[in-house]
Every structure is written in structure tokens, then in C-alpha cells.
Amino acid sequence: MVPIRTIPVEPGSLTYPDLPWIIEHREDRCTLCGHCTTVCPKECLHLAYRRQRMPRLDVLSNKRGSEYRTFTGIRQRTDMAHACIGCGMCAMVCPNEAIMPVPNSVERRTLFFTNQKGEAAKRGGRRNAPGATLLDRIIFDRISMLTDPALDAGRHEFTVTTTIGRILSPEDYLARRLDGGWIPTTREVFPFIIGSMSFGALSPNMWLGLLQGVAYCNEVLGIPVVMCTGEGGCPPWVLKSPYLKYIILQIASGYFGWDEIIRAIPEMQCDPAAIEIKYGQGAKPGDGGLLMWYKVSKLIARLRGVPEGVDLPSPPVHQTLYSIEESVMKMIQTLSMAFGHKVPVYPKISASTSAKAVLNNLVRNPYAGGLLIDGIDGGTGAAYNVSMDATGHPVASNVRECYLDLCAQGMQNELPIYAAGGIGKNGNVAQNGMALIMLGASAVHIGKYIMQATAGCLGNEQNRCNVCNLGICPKGITSQNPKLYRRLDPDQVAERVAETFMTIQTEVKKIMAPLGRSQSLPIGMSDAIGISDKDAADRLQIKYVC
């Protein structure tokens, strides 16, 4: 018996049933190869010596006794810094299926200890709230078979593109054609856009894979997918390549990487797809980016024009500007001008009760190319837990409100609204996206879904993994450490990008065909959707069905 005093029990002591994930290890199968301990991003596995009593019975001499054996076993650390995140990498690499993390179904005591060293809990990923989202519950119910031969999603021709950029009213368009006025440029793109994930947040292999995949979708498959860079600029070779036309360049409050971009303008072979100005992010409204020193590699430092290995928190707002109205006006105009008024420029704001105010502000700005509304379920490179879990506004009602506001002004074709935040959270990406489109969005941005689908990101709704911010992503998606990111093959990511978008396209057609739509994306086709929640139906002004 070991005296209690010799086991240190402190106020912050935890034992493994207190942790969110418990490692199950089978001694009988383990060959102690060490694969799991090597791969574990949190270094939470350790070898420990164990002693076991082996009962012995000597039948002939009728004597009982004990023997002891010592052996090496694998155990889980229980301190917060090394708590298992359930990423499952150990299970993935174990040759003998001897180890796996199991979610702990009892109350998680770790919640009380996530403030080690006085720092509030931070993580990457997005709000982890399991269960069906509102978007998951919307159904497409206006099935058109009363008077029509049904459309065949595989055989008929479908137009599944949308536009980025401001559109003039028919009257304005004709008048400007006649007197040679300026007609804003628009881009025809696939309505599922790869949302802003910055080149600082993603590993070089990940964004190379995405870029290759996007180019393949455009040039080989004919699906005009575009991707957004997020804050942090864009590698100079991409800026000077013909692939720039598939890229939406983001400028955010830190202006990181923009001197590179401005310098590259004279050498650009083509225009970027659009410019996105980030004012806010749905996953952490009112918070800036938090790129920590361990992700600021030499390459990232060069792209962003900063020293290597220093923390790069972006300020939460454009410090240089006085109000959102002024800021929207000045930034949009400046950036539109920088690109010769040939590139659509639009702002991204977090969904909020003031979204309508911003929208109406933009409607009156001839240089505004749209509005991206990012909701609470959106992803982020890093943010405080409390921001991600409890701050923000869902995107559906916000987009709907803004769309109806445009309708009332007869301008719903003119200023496109884009939606982001939690689309495909539970895997129903086409369904979620199309529901938002029918609520009034012209396109949707997807980030986390793309990471999960194309690179095998391990995050899920049970607060799993979510270490994107720490630079220890076990898949090498969000790490700047070559030892980790070389695990990710860019070619395979590109292949998955192509597969993903081919699938989304098929599913979009499968949704459009029974609704009898094939000639134009069903933006605002609110008669096609229903929900079995009376309050939600009233709020969204769609059908209540049950």
C-alpha cells in the first residue's frame, strides 16, 4: 500500500476520467513500437513501468503464492498542457489497433482548469455545438411535378453559377451603355467559395494543394471555383501567375502582406477574382486575428513583411478609420481604384444586429461589390473559447433580413449578399449552402468543411482536435513546422478539392432539379423551403411544415 502522502494531490490535479478524452490502451496487443507516442501532437502519451501480481498455485505441494512481473505500458498524462484532444492520430498510426481515444461522457472537469497561467482558453477551429443546425433542418419541399416532366440532374443542362460584384439596375445599365459610363466588373463563379483561410494559418502544403485543386476545377472540370486568401497576403509567385484570377485577396485590419500585393500590381498577368475587406469574423466578432509566434515561419514572415517568430495579433478594427461608414467608403474606394475599378471589392462583416445598417450603407456606395455576412458558427485560426462559443449572431436570420431589406428597395439583384459560418458543419454542405441561397444569399463561403473534406482535418463538434492555433496540427494542415506539414501531400489535397467540388455540383443539381430550376441559381426562392419549427419559419418568412 502506498501512503497517500506520497501521491501529490494539488488543487489542479486531474485524473483521467476528468479529461474530455480517455485513452484506451490494450497491453495485450501493444508491441511498444512507439508510433503513437511519436505522433501525438500533445505529447500526452508516456511510457510507464507497471507491476502486476501473478497469483501462483502449486497444486502438488498445495501451496499458494504470488509472483510479480514488471512491464512497460502506455499511459495518458493528466495535466492540462498535455491533455488528450482526441485527434485519434495514435489510433491511425498504431499497427496493432492497440490504442484509441474514447470520448468521456461524464462532466468534464477540465473546463475549470483551462485558464492555466492566467490565460483564458483559446483554440482553433470553430464553435463546437453538436446536433443539427438550423440550416440542417431546412427542407426543400416545393417539388415541381404537378405540371412538369421532372428535370434530370444528370442529363439536363444546369446553370449553377453566381456573380461577385455589383450589378446595375437594368435602367442604369442601359443608360451607361449609351453614354459610355463606368460599368462595374463582375465575375461569374461557383456559388460555393473557399472562404478566407490565411496563408499564415495554413501550411504551405495545404494552400498549395488548395490552389492546385482550384485551378484544376476551373481549367479541367469547368467549375469556376474561387478561393479567398484571408489576412496575410499571397505569395509573390501566385500574384504574378495566371492563377491569381481564382483568388480573392483579403485585406484585414493588420494589412499584413499588402505591401507585397501592391508592389506586385504592375507585374500581375490578370486581375484577382475580387478583394475582400475584413471588418469582422463571425467566429470571434470584435476580435482580431491571433497568429502566434510559433506559426510565423520564415516564409510567412516574408509574406507578411514582419520579423520571424513574433506574435502577430491583428487589431480587431481598422484603427486608422473612424467609423464603419467612413471606413467602408474609404477602403472600398481606395482598393477599387488601386485595381483600376476592374475588380469587385466587398466587405466581410460578422453577422450582427447592425448588419442591415452596413448593408444600406453599401447600397448607396457605387463601388461596393457585395456584402459578406459571417455568422457565429464560422471558423477561425484562433480565438478565445468564450468568443467562439458564446459571442456572435447566427447567419440565417441575418442574411434573410438583409435580403428582404434589399427586396423592399427593389435592389436584390444589385448588391449580392454572401453568407458564411457553419455551412456544412455536419457534413451537409450542399444542403446548407442551398438553403442559404434560397433565403437570399448569392453565394456561400466554406472554410472548415473544405479543410475537413480535402485534408482530413480532424476537428469535429465534440471539441475534438482544435489545435490549429498551436502549430501542432497533427495532419499538417495548419502547421508551419515542416516536420508536420510534410505529412500532407499537396497533390492529394488537390485531388480531394476536385472530388469535393464535383460532388457539391452534383448535389446542387440534385436539389435544383426537383424544384424545377435549371436556368439560374435559385437565389431568394423562398417558396421552395420549409422548416418544422414554427418560430424559425415565422422569423425567416418561409413555410412552416410538419
Binding site: T147, D148, G410, D527
Partner: protein
């Protein structure tokens, strides 16, 4: 699926001709409604001056009838002719209507020097005011059209039965253009106004099929805040309004209608002589893209007739005839019934890029393709 028939001829003919064509196509509808539009009017007992606007509709009660009468008088309209249908109520199995009216008026004196625009706006506003008045009084008054040289009749029931009720075979009323549609819309409620054809300021269209892009188009049209862009009891009514918007508000040629409702795709536009203009037009009018299947048949104030298909072309429609008389119908047997003595080998079924136009001279058909250059030099 609805059945549609249109006949246009230099010599006025009885609308009963077109109802016979409806009979030929009868298995296509269920008798839930008939809409009839006549243009180029001739009355047996009245020398009609085609400048007089004709008010047509239904008064359900004597009270409504009196209200209509005094309303028109107060507004300054002088009644010139009041057509009395020889009613055979025994044929009627629906609601017994108090009166179907077709009345020609002289414009109020204050419009003596008014320009065309002001007159047209006045006619539209008067019709809308009467329609509102009917709605405020429990729907006892329906006004379908108020326009020079146009009569419109709508009723729930089988086409021939409606024709017999109103004795349309008696030669009292004749017209140079007649459009008829059997069965009203089934997607939205059964309602008199929902019977095709739809009419606004001299422009009328009718459709078979279903417009699945109805709600976004309707929302957009209503958002224009233009007089008359209201109601929308049928998903097909927007076709008429888009045509009206194209011709009257955008002042574009008829050929552009097809480019607005079913634009070519990006690759086709790259090759089009006016591709650049059309791409911009497609963006600007994106919400007006229809999603059929539909065949749209229409007439314009100058007696031009047209037929277009949606992009999927999953609906039938044929046009045939000879110099001086032409017919468009959703079924070939319909054309046969209206113009039996034509060369059927010359009948034409438009493809999705075509707009069939029968010009007012009615000499020959114009089949205009979306791939061709269209007549609009300034803007494009």
C-alpha cells in the same frame, strides 16, 4: 397542362373559331377555366372607333354594376357602346354572374391634348382603381382590361361551354387577333384573375407550364414600384410584366425579350456579335430569368404576335398558316382546327433559341434566333 391557341387574321373572325381549336385539344385541360383576349375589335351593331378604350370584366351584382357606372362617369368617361352578350344561362354550371361587360368609352376631355404616355397611364390607373374597388367589396367586380381595341373575357369552366353561355358564335363580336387558354393555374389558388392571358397596357401573354422561378421574379418586379406590377395570382403573370418592362420601361426591341428571360450561356455569348452588351444585360436582368418549362404566346398593341420557349423547351407549341392568317397553338391539332387549309409542311416548332414573330402585316413569319445580331445599334 394548359392548352393555348392564338389566331391572327387580316379579316376579323369570330372568337368561336379559337374555341373550336380549344375543343380539339380538350384532353389537355380539366375545364377549370378559360381566358380569352380579343384585339382588333369589330361589333356587329356598332361602328367601333379603335381609339375608344374598351373596359371588359364581370360585375357580380347590380350594386357593383352601378358602382362601376358611376365611377367611370365621375372620372369623366363617356360611354359610347355597351355590348350586351346574348346570355344562355342554362349552359352555365358555375356561378351565375350578374353581367359580363364590354364597354367602349370616350376618353375624358382633359386628355384631349395629352400625350400617349399620359393616356396609357390613365387607362392603367383606372383599371387598377376598379380592380381595387372590386377587391374592397368582396370581389364583386373584376376588370380584366381597359385599353383601346382590346376585350378580355375570363371564366371558370370548359371553353366551349363558356363560349355557348356568352353566345360567342353569334357573330356579334369579331376580332383580328384572338388568344385563348384553357385551364387556369393550379399551383396557386383558383381565381378569376389567375386565368391567362394576362394583360397590362396593351401587352398580353399566356403560357402553358410552370414558372418555378416565379417568387424571386415576382419579388423583383414588385420592388420596381411600377404601377400595375401587383397581384400575381399566377406564376405566369410575370411573363407579361417582363415583356411590358422590356418594351415600355427599358424601351428595348421585342427580340431582347428572349435574351432577358432565357439568356445564352457565357460560352455562347463569347461568340455573339453583341455578346458584351448581352452579358451585362443578363447580369442586370438576372432575376428575370424564367425557369420553365414554358411556351409563351403573346400579342402587342400593334397586333404583332409572338411565340417563345423557355430554355429547356419541354413544352410543345406549333405555328402555322398562310399569308393573311396565322395560328399558334400548344398542339398541332389546335393549329389544324383554326387553319385547316394551310400547308402543314410549313408549320414551325421553335427551338429554344427562337422567337417566332408574326408582324402586323401578317404576310409571313419571322423566326428570329438568339444567336443572330439584333436591331439595337446605340447601346450594343
Amino acid at each position: 397542362m394548359c392548352r393555348l391557341a392564338l389566331k391572327t387574321a387580316r379579316e376579323p373572325f369570330s372568337p368561336y373559331d379559337v374555341l373550336t381549336a380549344m375543343e380539339a385539344m380538350q384532353e389537355g385541360y380539366d375545364g377549370s377555366g378559360l381566358g380569352l383576349l380579343l384585339r382588333g375589335m369589330e361589333f356587329e351593331d356598332f361602328r367601333y372607333n379603335p381609339k375608344f378604350p374598351i373596359l371588359s370584366g364581370i360585375a357580380e351584382s347590380e350594386k357593383a354594376w352601378r358602382r362601376l357606372d358611376s365611377f367611370m362617369e365621375e372620372r369623366g368617361y363617356e360611354l359610347k357602346y355597351d355590348h350586351k352578350f346574348h346570355m344562355k344561362r342554362a349552359h352555365m354550371n358555375g356561378k351565375d354572374r350578374y353581367r359580363y361587360f364590354v364597354r367602349a368609352y370616350r376618353m375624358p376631355d382633359r386628355f384631349a391634348d395629352a400625350d400617349q404616355d399620359a393616356r396609357e397611364t390613365e387607362l392603367l390607373k383606372t383599371r387598377l382603381a376598379l380592380r381595387r374597388d372590386g377587391e374592397e367589396h368582396g370581389g364583386d367586380l373584376s376588370v380584366f382590361s381597359f385599353w383601346p381595341d382590346v376585350t378580355m373575357i375570363k371564366e371558370v369552366g370548359w371553353p366551349l361551354q363558356v363560349g355557348n353561355t356568352l353566345s360567342l358564335h353569334d357573330g356579334q363580336i369579331k376580332a383580328r387577333v384572338c388568344m385563348a387558354q384553357g385551364r387556369q393555374n393550379t399551383n396557386y389558388g383558383i381565381n378569376l384573375y389567375a386565368c391567362h392571358p394576362f394583360f397590362i397596357q396593351g401587352i398580353a401573354t399566356m403560357t402553358n407550364g410552370e414558372n418555378t422561378a416565379f417568387v424571386p421574379i415576382r419579388d423583383w418586379l414588385i420592388g420596381r414600384n411600377l404601377p400595375g406590377y401587383i397581384g400575381y395570382q399566377s406564376d405566369s403573370e410575370v411573363f407579361t410584366h417582363i415583356l411590358h418592362y422590356t418594351l415600355k420601361h427599358l424601351k428595348l426591341p421585342l427580340q431582347i425579350y428572349k435574351h432577358i428571360i432565357t439568356p445564352l450561356n457565357a460560352a455562347e455569348l463569347d461568340k455573339h456579335p453583341q455578346g458584351d452588351f448581352l452579358k451585362g444585360l443578363r447580369d442586370a436582368c438576372r432575376r428575370l430569368i424564367i425557369d420553365g418549362p414554358n411556351a409563351v404566346i403573346g400579342t402587342l398593341p400593334d397586333e404583332t404576335c409572338l411565340l417563345v420557349m423557355d430554355h429547356k423547351k419541354l413544352r410543345p407549341a406549333t405555328v402555322g398558316g398562310r399569308e393573311g392568317v396565322w395560328a399558334i397553338a400548344s398542339e398541332m391539332c389546335g393549329v389544324d382546327a383554326m387553319i385547316p387549309d394551310r400547308d402543314p409542311a410549313l408549320d414551325f416548332q421553335p427551338m429554344r433559341e427562337h422567337t417566332v414573330i408574326i408582324p402586323p402585316q401578317r404576310k409571313e413569319l419571322t423566326v428570329w434566333s438568339q444567336y443572330e445580331q439584333f436591331p439595337l445599334s446605340q447601346a450594343a
